[in-house]
Each structure stands twice: as structure tokens, then as C-alpha cells.
């Protein structure tokens, strides 16, 4: 087992189920991504020592913070954690500077003011150190919270939806600041967010969380293009997920049968011939042909269909294409409106599309129902994250 700066495996059955396992290396940002109520905050609280799971193991920088088998559970005060709360949880009666100094319990009093001011300057709040939190904007409060979290020289930095309470313009600025700041951080950073785009932008790795269970951890683009299960595919917004059956394996491709249509997919020899599987394709894997240049390439899966829905959304158009005119063979994609206009693509029009074989990703079939098991996730035990880790 590789040593990671942060290794988390926790489980509990009540009050809300939790089965999570993930790792994060020093200097890396891991985004815990999941919808509201998926358990992101609970996980961060477990790491911080604010909640105690029924079973689990948390190791940070070689130190065991939690080991329920050994009955080890360090209190929050004994874990060097920097936690930025979703609502920042600043001490309302203390100035920005005093808020930051409050976390310097182990720093000599004479040194605290200098360090607090340096931290506030680092988060672009120089000159506002005597302001009370109530006199700061939401973005400024977030910066104070980050400075306070860093003031303890934490071994891990936990960010609980730190951008949720700021407006869009401020959020963009804070994204840039975090991206800049993280280059100088040598501790693992765990970012909880429900915004997949934010996670992909800021994190080295993402870990998909749903109903308290971690489903897949890996590089953002990889998880989004190679989801481990149909559930992950849905959670990361893959819009084309269909059932098919494996027909054959040929070289680096796997041939599948989709409603009677043969498709080339990226090789997945782990699935036996004849097995029912699901295939997923990101919307950018659907190439709509130009009228004057239909695809003839091998492994591009050229198909014919009709545009069942054409919906302008800003400068883009959202398309639903029924392959061979069949509604159960719906492909979803989007394209710039001007491209659609140039190619005379509109509702009811016949179009040619290609599905890039290298983008067609095969997954285990999963019956409908959110609670169904997912490929390599955690049903009865909490496995090491390597078992659900993808690269």
C-alpha cells in the first residue's frame, strides 16, 4: 500500500450511512464531488475530528488520527487541521486579525500579530485586519477563513464548499487566488464541492461521492470520460448512457451491439462476449457531420439519424438525435448555433453523426435504481481507495 499524506477510510450506519475511502498526497488538491446531502461535509468533519464515525481509519502524515479497531480517536484540538467552513464560521466578535490569531495557540504571543498580518496580506486583506467579520464582504470573509485555517500550520487543509456563499464574479477571483495559493502549499488539500466544473478546474483528483459512499477517485478528465459505473456517469453528467451487448473483442477495440447497430468501442476485454453492458459517451464524443463532408473513417461509428430536439441555449444549441429515427436510440450533444445554422441543422432534419470509438466507454450494466451497486464500490466493507481508483 502506497503511503499517502492523507488516507481516509470511514464507515457508519447511522444516523446517515457513510462508506468512504480516499487518499490525497501532499501538495495535491482532491475534490470531493457530490450533490447536496451526499456526505461531503460529514467526511470533512470526520477528518477534522468533529464527528466520530462508527468504524474507520484516518492517517495523516504518518500519524494515526482515528483507528476504531485500536480505539484511537484524537480530539479536534489534537489534529492539525485547517478547516474552512461553508459559512466560514468566523468569530463575529473578533477582528479579522484576532480571528487569525485565535488559531495560533502554539505560537509565541509576540509572534502572533506579525504572522497574522502576513497571512492576511497573503490572502489580499492587508489593511483590513481590524475589521469585524460583519464589516467584510462575503469574499473577504472567505479569505479571512482561509487565513485562519492556514494559521495553525495544518497538516491537511479542508475546504467545505468555500465558494458557495460568494457571487459569481467574486467566485472567479477566488478560484484564481486558490489556484495560485495552492502552488505554495505542501499539505494535502481536500475541497468539498457540488460543482464538477469547479472541481475539474481546481483539483488534481476528484472523488465522486453519493449518499455517503465514495464511488470513484481519479484525475478529473479521466473520471468524467471513463466513469467506473453508470451511477458515476450520471453524477458526472455523461448524457449518453445506453445498454448494449458485447459481440467481440478485436485488437484494441471491443465490438458491441446497440439495439441492432454494431459499434466499435474502446477495448474492454474484461467483459465477456455476450455480456450485457452499458456504454457511455460524453456529448463531445458525438460528432455531427458537415453536410458536404460525411465521415467515412474507420472506428468512427458513422450513423444516420433525425434531429428530434433542437434547443438554443445562449450561443449553443442542445440537440437530441434519434439514430435511425428510433427514440430509444437517442444521442445528446451540443454545438455552436452558427455551426448548426451553416449546416442547416434544425429540428426534423436528417443528419449524419460519428461516435468516436476511443470515446465509447464500456461499464458494467446496472439495473435502474439509485441504490444499485456500482462496479467497484463499497458494499459491506470499506476497501482501500486503490480498489476504486482510476487514472
Amino acid at each position: 500500500m502506497a503511503d499517502h499524506a492523507l488516507d481516509v477510510r470511514v464507515a457508519q450506519d447511522s444516523p446517515a450511512p457513510l462508506r468512504a475511502a480516499f487518499t490525497c498526497d501532499a501538495g495535491r488538491v482532491l475534490a470531493l464531488v457530490g450533490p447536496a446531502g451526499s456526505g461531503k461535509t460529514r467526511l470533512l468533519r470526520c477528518i477534522a475530528g468533529l464527528d466520530r464515525p462508527q468504524r474507520g481509519h484516518i492517517v495523516c502524515r504518518g500519524g494515526t488520527w482515528l483507528d476504531t479497531n485500536q480505539r484511537i480517536s484524537l480530539p479536534a484540538q489534537a489534529r492539525r487541521v485547517g478547516l474552512v467552513f461553508q459559512n466560514y464560521a468566523l468569530f463575529p466578535h473578533l477582528s479579522a486579525e484576532d480571528n487569525v490569531m485565535a488559531a495560533m495557540t502554539e505560537v509565541a504571543p509576540a509572534e502572533r500579530v506579525r504572522r497574522a498580518r502576513a497571512l492576511l496580506a497573503r490572502v489580499h486583506l492587508a489593511g483590513l485586519n481590524r475589521r469585524l467579520p460583519g464589516d467584510l464582504s462575503s469574499a473577504q470573509r472567505q479569505r479571512v477563513a482561509v487565513a485562519r485555517a492556514l494559521a495553525r500550520d495544518p497538516q491537511v487543509l479542508l475546504l467545505d464548499e468555500p465558494f458557495a456563499a460568494v457571487d459569481r464574479m467574486a467566485r472567479r477571483t477566488l478560484h484564481v487566488e486558490l489556484a495560485e495559493m495552492r502552488r505554495h502549499l505542501d499539505m494535502p488539500v481536500v475541497l468539498a464541492t457540488d460543482d464538477l466544473d469547479e472541481a475539474a478546474m481546481l483539483a488534481d483528483e476528484i472523488c465522486i461521492l453519493h449518499r455517503g459512499r465514495t464511488l470513484q477517485q481519479g484525475r478529473p478528465l479521466h473520471v468524467m470520460s471513463r466513469p467506473a459505473s453508470m451511477q458515476v456517469a450520471r453524477l458526472v453528467g455523461v448524457r449518453n448512457v445506453h445498454a448494449a451487448r458485447v459481440v467481440a473483442h478485436e485488437a484494441e477495440f471491443t465490438i458491441i451491439d446497440w439495439e441492432g447497430t454494431r459499434l466499435d468501442a474502446k477495448g474492454a476485454p474484461q467483459f465477456d462476449v455476450g455480456k450485457r453492458i452499458a456504454w457511455a459517451l460524453p456529448s463531445d464524443g458525438v460528432i455531427v457531420h458537415r453536410r458536404d463532408r460525411p465521415s467515412r473513417s474507420e472506428h468512427e461509428n458513422p450513423l444516420k439519424g433525425s434531429v428530434a430536439q433542437f434547443l438554443p441555449l445562449g450561443a449553443q444549441a442542445e440537440l437530441v438525435i434519434h439514430v435511425n429515427g428510433r427514440s430509444e436510440m437517442a444521442l445528446r450533444t451540443s454545438m455552436p448555433l452558427h455551426v448548426a445554422a451553416r449546416n442547416r441543422i434544425a429540428a426534423g432534419e436528417e443528419v449524419g453523426v460519428s461516435l468516436l470509438a476511443s470515446s465509447v466507454h464500456l461499464m458494467p450494466w446496472q439495473e435502474a435504481g439509485d441504490g444499485a451497486a456500482t462496479g467497484r464500490d463499497h458494499e459491506s466493507t470499506v476497501p482501500h481507495p486503490a480498489s476504486s481508483r482510476t487514472r
Binding site: V81, L83, A89, L90, F91, H93, T105
Partner: protein
């Protein structure tokens, strides 16, 4: 003007507030943040003096400290004199009557401190006593102070239980409110009026103090 009665009233109010300060902080804090079995019953019992006639409370206190009562045996051995018709007995009754006036505002003050703020203090490495002194008390002190001022003012105004338990002994258990009653019975309107005005302005000052204390400067308007 019965100065000794006013002195008894002030002494009783100060002692009541002093005793209820730690009780209110501890009980208010527990009720604000902890869930436990029987919590509703505890809250109901603590609120009972708000609706119960003071004479009922006084009656039960007299019954509890009656000649055959085990409570009396204990208090007699501790105080070496009966609890009823003494200042100590009056103080016990006053503390009981004022429990909701002290505890409820303090409970509300602690409830207003979010769990995240207390958790943030833990994540900052603060120990429990440090969290109380540096975070909780500075945030709750307005509620605590206003609770104590209310307790003080309410004790000054107490009549029924004082009469039942204290017995109206001059210099010992006769409070200002009892003295006013006595003066009215004796047709001494001038003395009654002076004492009534003194209590009126004292109570008004206390209520104004409560409103001033409750203004929260660190909340953005």
C-alpha cells in the same frame, strides 16, 4: 421610607442573581446544545415558576420544611436554625422562583452561537475552557447580563413567595414590596408612595439596561 426593607430587597436580589449566574450558565448551556432524554420535562419544570402562583410555591416550601420533613432535618443541621422565616429560606425561595428568568435568556444566548463557530474554535486548537472564555462567553455575555438584570428586578418585585416563606420579619425578611403593603394597610400613603416610586424607577432602569445590553454591535445592520 423603610430603608431596612429596601436593604433586605437589594441584598436578596443581589444574592439571588449571584447564585443564579453559574446555575443559569451551566443549565442554559446544556439545554442550548445537548439533547437528552427528559429534556422537555426539565424545561417544563424550569419554566413552571412563570405560571405557578407564588403562593403555591410558597406553600410547598413551607410543607417541605415542616416539622416532620426530612428536608427540615437537613437544613436545620446545616443552618442550625429553621429555614422558614429566615433570610436564607427567603433566598432559597427566590432562587427557585427566578430560575426561568435566569436560565431562559441564557439558554437563548447560547443557542444563538452556531455549532460551526464552536467547532471552528476546536479546529483552531482551543481547549474547552478557552473556547468558553474566548468565544462562548464574549458572544453570550449580553444574554447572561440581561438575564441577571431581569432576575434582580424580578426579585425586587417579588411579593407572594416572600410573604409565605419569609414571614415579614423586619430587618430579616421584610422586603420593600412587603413594606409597601404594610404602609398601605397603615394608611401611610407618603411612605408607601416613596417606596413604590423607588421600586418603579429601579425596575424601569433595569429594563432599560436589558435593552441596552441586548444591542449587538458586531451584527451588520
Amino acid at each position: 421610607m423603610d430603608w431596612s426593607a429596601l436593604a433586605v430587597s437589594l441584598k436578596l436580589a443581589l444574592w439571588t442573581a449571584a447564585i443564579l449566574a453559574p446555575i443559569g450558565i451551566i443549565v442554559g448551556r446544556v439545554l442550548a446544545w445537548r439533547a437528552f432524554r427528559g429534556r422537555t420535562l426539565v424545561e417544563a419544570l424550569l419554566a413552571l415558576p412563570l405560571v405557578l402562583p407564588a403562593t403555591v410555591l410558597g406553600y410547598y416550601m413551607l410543607a417541605a420544611t415542616g416539622a416532620d420533613s426530612p428536608v427540615r432535618a437537613v437544613t436545620d443541621s446545616l443552618l442550625r436554625k429553621p429555614l422558614v422565616f429566615t433570610f436564607a429560606g427567603l433566598l432559597v425561595a427566590s432562587v427557585v422562583v427566578n430560575l426561568p428568568f435566569a436560565i431562559q435568556p441564557m439558554q437563548r444566548a447560547f443557542e444563538a452561537i452556531s455549532m460551526d463557530v464552536r467547532d471552528a474554535a476546536k479546529c483552531c486548537g482551543m481547549r474547552p475552557w478557552s473556547i468558553f472564555t474566548r468565544i462562548e462567553f464574549p458572544l453570550a455575555w449580553r444574554g447572561i447580563a440581561s438575564a441577571l438584570v431581569l432576575t434582580f428586578a424580578h426579585t425586587l418585585a417579588e411579593f407572594g413567595v416572600v410573604l409565605m416563606v419569609g414571614g415579614n420579619i423586619a430587618g430579616e425578611t421584610r422586603t420593600a414590596s412587603l413594606a409597601i403593603y404594610d404602609r398601605v394597610q397603615a394608611f401611610d400613603d407618603r411612605a408607601a408612595g416613596t417606596m413604590a416610586a423607588t421600586l418603579l424607577f429601579t425596575s424601569l432602569a433595569a429594563i432599560i439596561a436589558v435593552y441596552v445590553i441586548r444591542a449587538r454591535p458586531h451584527v451588520r445592520r
